[in-house]
Structures are given as structure tokens and as C-alpha cells.
Symmetry: C2
Subunit: 313 residues, 2 copies
């Protein structure tokens, strides 16, 4: 049997063909045509699914189903209640629509939740059934997995850790959601760069970051500076790691996972960041849960297609 | 069919006989004999279970099973890894031991988790399948329910919200777990009273609380003072409600429950406290989850036997 995984993004839609063991047999992508509305996107997805089956000589009867990750809250593994990046402002019953077009079993989940499932199945969280995943990118996405299943939540907001109001002091900057204490403000690539710019403007201290035009500072520059011993870089890196350690310690006392997995561009700061998060986590977590592992994601941009396929397996 | 619910505490063990709809047909309690060790407690539980079956003329074949809540982490609904209040410092396979003695199906869970299940089934959370419960007593216990099932966690620490490191600034006082940022320090009866004593000693402001001998101040006094407009009482009540609202807002972005249910002695502060928590929750929670209800528990000390019975139904 085979499974098809689809990861719908605002720019591209990625596809993967998997066998039951999670071997990626083929992958492809198409552009996301947001101007045609939901039905056009569904037509495009169905067409690409059929193309992949033909190209890989897979009879439809041997397909267990199609899993789809989307950027938005999902109810009942079907209804995408809103998809801002897709220009979907009315609920879209995506599983139904793709099923109508393909006559295959279709399950839909939030993209960050699906990425967590992918990392559990074939990535950094392999071997664990209870984990929390963070995708530290432009924003902060997350997914909670308990007993091998994604926690969707009652309104599809399960694992929306980027908007957990975790900051000890509210920031002046406003999160996309309107909050001032969101994890995203401290731990997204955008948030880290903005924090660096704030620090540079408020302090007179020397910093290698002053050599970069202030509008061009990226999270990577901050971590590079920190690794080189730059005090301002270290301050921001430690603050980021503190809040990530703290949210992990809080999650430890809520769903008590076996491990926490970090992906997304910011996680490329590598062992430097992972070790700092771990230090903060061990200091803050309840002893009954403080042994949990802090790990890096391994699947990169493919986590979504892996997890989507896993949805139907 | 019937179900038997058992709530094991450090002082008493409570028993309830339920029908399948959750009607409490009979209840009883026995003293907890901690000095005899785990086997003595198991003997006592089994004897009382048999007595209840006879007294209620219930044939053993009509019993679906026995559910047990215990004060400690539980693995695989059987193994109590540690039970400090029971003097259990070695793991006790409680379900096995009670099964050996009764030949009935036995499932064991942490007592706070079981109370959450009870409130979901027949208490303040009736009609919801996704909720988080807080028991604000001497400590702060908690339970997370998703899809009608308790989240036990990978090491039995699921729902240990009392030890979530939520405080914005670490307190000088140390929590029983060793932490300085635990919710318990701000929201347990003990923590609230201690906060009041700290405030009274640090400030020179007038307060009705100064009329009470400082060592006798209770959480109830603090809330009574707050309701009467006492500034110091209000300050502490608002701080308590802020942290409870904040932990709910964080949980909203993790497991995204339909409602939060508050029980335990502190919740007797009633609508005054519930409304304050709700105000803080609405201000802090992510919009996708901010609609969730803030409710009071209804079963009081019986929540444990209800939830324990529900475990096997």
C-alpha cells in the first residue's frame, strides 16, 4: 500500500509518494494559484495527485489515502476554517473536495501539526509517540503529538504554541495575532531580528551586529554573533532559549512529552541553540518530566509531506 | 452494568457505586492505613469493594470494572511510580494488585486527572469532551482531557499544572517541587495566604487583613477582603487570577480545550474569582481559542469517585 502526502503553502504545494514504511518514493511541487479560489487549488491538487500515480505506476486501489497539511485551523480533519495565506476567508471542506475529485480517502490537518507527525514518524522524533514540535521560522508553528496522534484542539488551535502568552514582560511590538506576550515575538526569526534591532538602538555597547545595516540583520546574524562571543548576540540568544525552555517546561506539566523537536530556519543555529534551550528546560521543568529530550528536526521542508502521508497510515 | 470508583487519599479512601449513566447509588469511605504498606491498603480496598457489592446486591458479573484515582504519577493505568502521601516510595502495580484480589477489571489514574474526568462526566464540564481542570487546594492539581480521555503523559505527569513554571518573576519561596516559578506558589490556598503575609510585612498600607493574626490568614480571608474592596486583598486576588488566566491562555494554544473548570477550596471564592480569571483569559488568549468557557467545578470531593468510575465505562 501507498500513501500520498500534500503540504499546501501560500507559494507552493508539495507532494510526496510514500510506501507504508515511510520511504519517500517520489516528490514534486506545483505553484499555489491563490487567485483562483479554493476550487482551483483543489483541481490543481487532484491533477497533480493523478499525475504522480501514473508516473509511479501506482494503481489507485493500492493507495491507502491522501493526507493534506494546510496553513490554518482544521476541524474534523476536513474543514479549514480560515487560511489567510491561501486567501480563504470562508470555511473550506477540503477533505470532501479532494475526495470528490479523486475518490480516495482524504484527511486534512494543520500544517504545523502535520510536520510534528512527520518528525515523529521519520525525523528527529523517531521512536517517540509523545512529543511537541516547534517550527521556528518567520513565525513559530507547533504541533503536539500524544500517543502517535496529533492534538487538533476543539477549534483547530491545538499546538498553536507561537501564540502562547509566555513572555514575562509584554513587548511593545505587536504579534500578528494582536498579542504582546506571544512566544513568536521572542523565538521567530522575525522576532529575534527585531529584538536585536531594538537592543542596538537602546544601547551604546559595541557589537559586531553594528557592522550590518540595521534593516538587514537576520536571526542567523544574531546567533553567529553569539557564537563568536558578542555580548549583545549572546543576550538575545539566551533570551530566546529561555522562553523556548520555559514553554517546553510548561508543556512538560501539561502533556508531558518524551521529547521536544525544533525545526525551521532558526533551528539551524544548531547545537548552540539546542544546548541553551536544554539548559533552560532542565532548570525550569518539574522533576517528574525534566528528563525529556531536546532534539533537532531532521526532515526540513519535507516534514509536511511525511506527516501528511502518516495521517492516513 | 455498574462501575466502582475509588479515590485514594493520604487520610481516607472514598468509594462510589455508579450505574452506567453516572448515577451515584452508594458511597462510603475508610481510613487510609499507610503504616501497613501498599499490600495492606490493597487488602482494605478489596474488602470495602466486596462489602459495597453485597450491601447493594450487585452481582460481580454486572460490574464493568473498578477505577482508582491515586495521589501520584501513574503509568499504563496500573503502575503508581511514587505516592508520597501514601508512603509508597517503590512503584506499586496497583491495578494488578486489586485485580488479583477481586478478579475485576481495574484501571488506575492520577487523582487530579480522574477528578477532571469526573467533572467532565457529571460535573461542571458536562457536555464537553476537551477540557482542563484545576483543583486549587493546599496545592494545585490539574487534569487535561482530550476527546473524553485523560492525558496521562509519558511519565504520568500529564496535567501537573501546579508545577508549570508560569510566574513572570521567580518567588523567594520554594515550591514543594523545588521550583520558584510554579503556578502553585500563586494559586494554591497555601500560596495565596503566604503572598498575603509577604505583602503585609513589606507594605505599611492599611488592610482589613491586619486584624487577623498573621499566621492565621487563609486564602478565604484574602478573597473576602478583596470582595469588600480591600486594596491588598484585591492585589493578591488579581495576581492569582492573572496567573490562572495566563496558564489557561497557554493551555488554549497547546491542547485548545472547550472549557476550563476550577475546583478545590480556593474556587469557593465563587463568581468573583471566576470572573477575574475569565477577564485575564480573554485578554491573553489567542483569538482562535479565546471563546473557551471558564467554569466552576460542581462535584466537590466526589469528583474523584465519579471520574474513577468513568475510567472503566
Amino acid at each position: 500500500m501507498y500513501a500520498l502526502g500534500v503540504d499546501v503553502g501560500g507559494t507552493t504545494i508539495k507532494f510526496g509518494v510514500f510506501d507504508e514504511e515511510g520511504k519517500l518514493l517520489d516528490k514534486s511541487y506545483i505553484d499555489t494559484d491563490v487567485r483562483g479560489g479554493a476550487d482551483k487549488i483543489c483541481d490543481d491538487i487532484a491533477a497533480e495527485l493523478f499525475r504522480l500515480l501514473v508516473a509511479n505506476q501506482i494503481p489507485k486501489e493500492e493507495v491507502k489515502g491522501v493526507g493534506i497539511g494546510v496553513p490554518g485551523p482544521v476541524l474534523n480533519q476536513n474543514l479549514v476554517t480560515v487560511g489567510v495565506n491561501l486567501d480563504w476567508y470562508e470555511p473550506v471542506p477540503l477533505a470532501e473536495k479532494i475526495h470528490e475529485r479523486t475518490d480516495m480517502q482524504v484527511l486534512v490537518e494543520n500544517d504545523a501539526n502535520v510536520a510534528a507527525l512527520g518528525e515523529m514518524w521519520r525525523g528527529g522524533g523517531r521512536g517517540y509517540e509523545n512529543l511537541a514540535m516547534f517550527t521556528l521560522g518567520t513565525g513559530v508553528g507547533g504541533g503536539i503529538v500524544i500517543g502517535g496522534k496529533v492534538v487538533s484542539g476543539s477549534t483547530g488551535s491545538g499546538g498553536e504554541v507561537g501564540h502562547a502568552p509566555i513572555l514575562d514582560t509584554p513587548q511593545e511590538r505587536t504579534c500578528g495575532c494582536g498579542g504582546h506576550r506571544c512566544l513568536e515575538l521572542a523565538a521567530s526569526a522575525t522576532g529575534i531580528a527585531a529584538r536585536a534591532r531594538d537592543e542596538l538602538s537602546f544601547s551604546l555597547d559595541d557589537s559586531v551586529l553594528r557592522e550590518i545595516p540595521v534593516d538587514e540583520i537576520k536571526a542567523k546574524d544574531v546567533f553567529d554573533a553569539a557564537k563568536d562571543g558578542d555580548a549583545l548576540g549572546i543576550k538575545i540568544a539566551e533570551e530566546t532559549a529561555y522562553y523556548l525552555g520555559k514553554i517546553c517546561a510548561i508543556i512538560a506539566s501539561i502533556t508531558n512529552p518524551e521529547c521536544f523537536v525544533f525545526g525551521g530556519g532558526v533551528s539551524n543555529a544548531g547545537p548552540y541553540l539546542i544546548d541553551l534551550i536544554e539548559k533552560n528546560y532542565r532548570a525550569l521543568a518539574f522533576s517528574g518530566a525534566s528528563h525529556a529530550k531536546i532534539l533537532r528536526a531532521e526532515l526540513g521542508n519535507d516534514a509536511g509531506i511525511y506527516g501528511a502521508a502518516k495521517l492516513v497510515l
